[in-house]
Subunit: 250 residues, 2 copies
């Protein structure tokens, strides 16, 4: 398998902008699928092959790729290495993005240890926490630093992405500090809706919301007809009316 070199296909001038959000969200999935194919020594793949590996249908995949340009060959398929590089470049992970993690509890700890931080393209430059008891603790080859150092670190390491793994309480304040320090992208694991000014992107990962979405569908599977999944072995909660739900009870 030879490298794809820097040749470019036919008309390389595509809008380079205005890729639909739904497509943007799938590009990382395609990138991962291409990496897997590449690791298996597969040099060429059709849209059908790729779509299967990515878990989408081939029409959607071709439509998505068409926003990036014409990187396939009719009658043949896509050069795996070449397409992989094009997508990586489009996403921006041919660069190396500096990331700080704020809030080194269980989850922050887990993310700090996350090997390779998922995919290449990201580099954790600091683990921050405001708790003096945590500051100085070593995690892998890093040391937890004081949240007060945030501004210095963001400036010196050109940090553009912040990950918030604090509890809900301090999350908005942490967010404000990150934004004021110059961070323009935030990945929020705290269970709160954060508000940020225009120009700052925010994404949210929320375990309990994901579980609740699953529960909704699960409830409908059992069917109003069938028996509910209420645990009937313990069966000691005598609530008949308004169970405490969604946090602090009534």
């Amino acid at each position: 398998m030879t490298r794809a070199s820097s040749r470019r296909p036919g008309p390389p001038t595509r809008t380079e902008r205005g890729i639909p959000e739904a497509t943007v969200a799938r590009l990382p999935v395609y990138l991962r699928a291409l990496t897997a194919l590449s690791d298996s020594g597969i040099a060429t793949a059709s849209s059908e092959d790729l779509a299967t590996a990515a878990g989408v249908n081939s029409a959607k995949l071709r439509k998505d790729l068409s926003y990036l340009g014409s990187y396939g060959t009719r009658g043949v398929g896509y050069d795996v290495e070449y397409l992989r590089y094009q997508i990586a470049r489009e996403i921006g992970v041919t660069q190396d993005w500096a990331v700080v993690i704020v809030g080194i509890g269980n989850l922050g700890h887990a993310l700090a240890n996350y090997s390779g931080f998922g995919t290449r393209g990201f580099r954790i430059v600091a683990l921050l926490d405001a708790d003096p008891k945590l500051v100085g603790e070593r995690i892998g080859d890093m040391e937890v630093r004081d949240f007060a150092e945030l501004e210095d670190i963001v400036e010196r390491d050109r940090v553009s992405i912040g990950v918030i793994t604090t509890p809900a309480g301090p999350a908005q304040e942490v967010c404000d500090r990150l934004v004021a320090a110059g961070v323009t992208s935030i990945l929020n694991f705290a269970p709160v809706v954060l508000s940020v000014p225009d120009g700052v992107d925010i994404r949210k990962v929320d375990l309990s919301i994901e579980l609740q979405i699953l529960a909704y569908h699960e409830q409908r599977k059992s069917g109003e007809a069938a028996l509910p999944q209420v645990p009937e072995l313990p069966a000691m909660n005598g609530l008949t009316d308004l169970p405490s739900v969604g946090g602090v009870g009534a």
Copy 2:
């Protein structure tokens, strides 16, 4: 603030089905917002209040709520407790869903410790791992058990939700075992596309995909005009052509 009791509003007969997916995904957000309002002692809220708390616009919120029924009062707003219970019931978190976590590495550990497992409505009944070195380890008030016990546990505790926090490698096999054991909803943290039979719901949480989506937008902020965020201090990577990206290099 009095309990909403079991009164039901006007015509309680709505389709009870066919709530759009986008709406289902927002119901947990509304539930959390209502809980926050309730905790602040607020008894009534307008769609505008609620929408602000949930981070959406009020038209969308009203449209979403209209799929559940007519739980508001024109000219007044919504009774916070009452609406909270209705949404909790619609989602299914007035029940208690049994959950197993498979793969007790850093992330599984973190989730096991996650206080209250997010919101009420879910109960971790087992932490499972195939590694004999981990089996028997205590985490909080639970003990890691052998993955081989999966089938017994699922049957005895009527487990319908499984959380996969293994590495990518064993994830599909773990998934297959979960499904075979009777689990019908899966929350997957492993960076792979899992395939499941019809009738099994699967949701995916993927740190590296979230970061890549942020990177995409970040790249466009810097602008093709402005200087790229490439770290220029180390500046030792002499790659000019095809940097290794997305996993194992070329």
